[in-house]
Symmetry: C2
Subunit: 404 residues, 2 copies
Amino acid sequence: MSTTTPHIVVLGAGYAGMMTTKRLIQQLAPHEAQITLVNKHNYHYQTTWLHEVAAGTIDVNRSRIMISDVINTKRVHLVQDTVERIKADEKKVLLQNGELDYDYLVIGLGFEKATFGIPGMDEHAFSIQSVDTSRMIRDHIEYQFSRYKTEDNPSDDILTIIVGGAGFTGIEFVGELAERIPVLCKKYDIPRKKVKIINIEATPTILPNFDEELLEYAQRSLKARGVQFRLGTMIKEVKKDAVIVGDDMEEIKAGTFVWTGGVQANRIVGESGFELTKGKVNVDTMLRAPGHDDVFILGDCAWVMNKDTGRPYPPTAQIAIQEADVCAHNIKTMIQGGTLREFTFDDKGTVASLGGSEAMGTVFDGHKLYGLQAKVMKHVIDDRYLFLLGGPGLVLKKGKFRPF
Amino acid sequence: MSTTTPHIVVLGAGYAGMMTTKRLIQQLAPHEAQITLVNKHNYHYQTTWLHEVAAGTIDVNRSRIMISDVINTKRVHLVQDTVERIKADEKKVLLQNGELDYDYLVIGLGFEKATFGIPGMDEHAFSIQSVDTSRMIRDHIEYQFSRYKTEDNPSDDILTIIVGGAGFTGIEFVGELAERIPVLCKKYDIPRKKVKIINIEATPTILPNFDEELLEYAQRSLKARGVQFRLGTMIKEVKKDAVIVGDDMEEIKAGTFVWTGGVQANRIVGESGFELTKGKVNVDTMLRAPGHDDVFILGDCAWVMNKDTGRPYPPTAQIAIQEADVCAHNIKTMIQGGTLREFTFDDKGTVASLGGSEAMGTVFDGHKLYGLQAKVMKHVIDDRYLFLLGGPGLVLKKGKFRPF
């Protein structure tokens, strides 16, 4: 490492890490900073598309992008390695195969499954977390279909898919399943009515931050395509082939259980000594870790307060991308001098996909969108990110709505 | 059922059953016989392509044909049902959902796995037997790859695939695996060298009826693509995650075990009282069951003696199709009068696919073929059958080599 130019280390190539790196390249000249991006894989993936990989409606490769295809490797040193520990007091990161010293650190290590201590959740629940775990879900569902066709007197229960949690991922996932299951039924010669899709949620409603009218639309659309809802129902235990719910400990048998009901920061963050509140770090308005002005924590590892409501913003790709802008600006400012920027969220609206040509959400000033119109907007949102990341070429290659 | 025209019942829509039905339609006028074809599924499948389904190199639907697409349903009554018992003395067939009386019966119910009493074989071995069991193998292999990418500290052993038996199916299957595994490795980001393909065979040689030169070619080709052979090695026991071999009870760990080492007649045949010799019925030269002149047994349910060698012919699709000709002729003769025909096998040669563009075998007068030339001939053979079954349209739709 040079001793004259500051070294910026970005951990994780998710939405936050990728966009921070992009912005740093744009805003700093090569002689002003060295930049290193550390990631477990040599690819970046679209977390917001993983529910489609998990349902099997898109191929894995559609959801991932080689990092070197969109990050200028003449400017950024790419390190493919796994982070083991951050030693903030020594300004050091320990990797599985080495270590790095930093002057500025950006932590964008993403989320992992939060189990809330529910027995069996660790062992038996699948999670839509990475390319690998999402593909595992797809393969597991097909495996159950194959088993059903080859075992002697199989129970219909092995075809049942339970999705725990009716937040954004849970709802988008059951929407994809509603599209995928009829295709799988045809492929495996299994009558559609034998396959149950059950969404279980502890609170009385799906998608807590959405408008009532949109929620009704979503539920009607999903129910019409065979999704069953069990709202206000607490999961008490997860077994190999069943889920136990409610105070009367009702057992619902299923061949597949996917948990989308809770996420927390990558465990490296807590293990490295950063203080966690409900599983994530409360960062300051400049997005820095408390007590460490040289450490920024972004995306699913952090809670960022909404000063208007006094509650943290819900974690989305949109917010992670906006955080990257502020983080990159603030690092630049710390190097060049000037005033740091506070993070404020510019809500451009949110659209939830419900599978196939179904979607719903709000855009701009709260304008509601339904069905195909919403779906098109969803694709525009996805493509906008690809455009930011890799320009029109990437939109053409990986985009969903192809206007070119 | 009419009492005036004889009723011919064909059990099973494999190579033998389909071609017998086709020939009967051609050779008998509608007023001369009623024909009923009973099959578990509404589709016919190409058993000789199932190793490709199992490896994942072709899609399931490529290997199957709707029966009603190739059999004239004005002439033949199709019954989709499962045979439970044949009562030859009462000239009756019991189905899961009904029963049928016959005047002439054709049994083409195919094979099932012969385990030779090897412990664990029933529970833990997959078998390339039907569309469903073959797809199960494909799904199981991908499942192991997915597990490998998501479990903590997984052993490389779960990626190992052991194929028991180096007969025709075993060799063709490892050939397909040799092509498929690099593709899967790329898909799942797993280094090729971590995946072992091991072929275990009790006798000292692969493909017992082939010429020495061809066998050397096959083994060289397969070894070059990473297939390991353990010839002269007896399987003693099959466990969930391993196979025990040899007198020293060596344990070879594996995530997938596929048994191709033995087949026997569908169990319905023995359970219905037909005498079995090494798992199949020794039929007479007219292809009839001993003691039942109105019952013909074809394909993998029967042994047909080669009078020149005193040994039965090896069971192949080619022989099943030729048996169908003789069987149809003999039933026609029994109805119209005339002389029954004896079965003699017209060996048109045999080509074994070794995956990708690799193959080898003999044609016509023992002329040897290798590589692409052999592969083209293999496709010609496959297409010839499709042509017999459904004319040029079927070749175009499902054929492998498309000359049109």
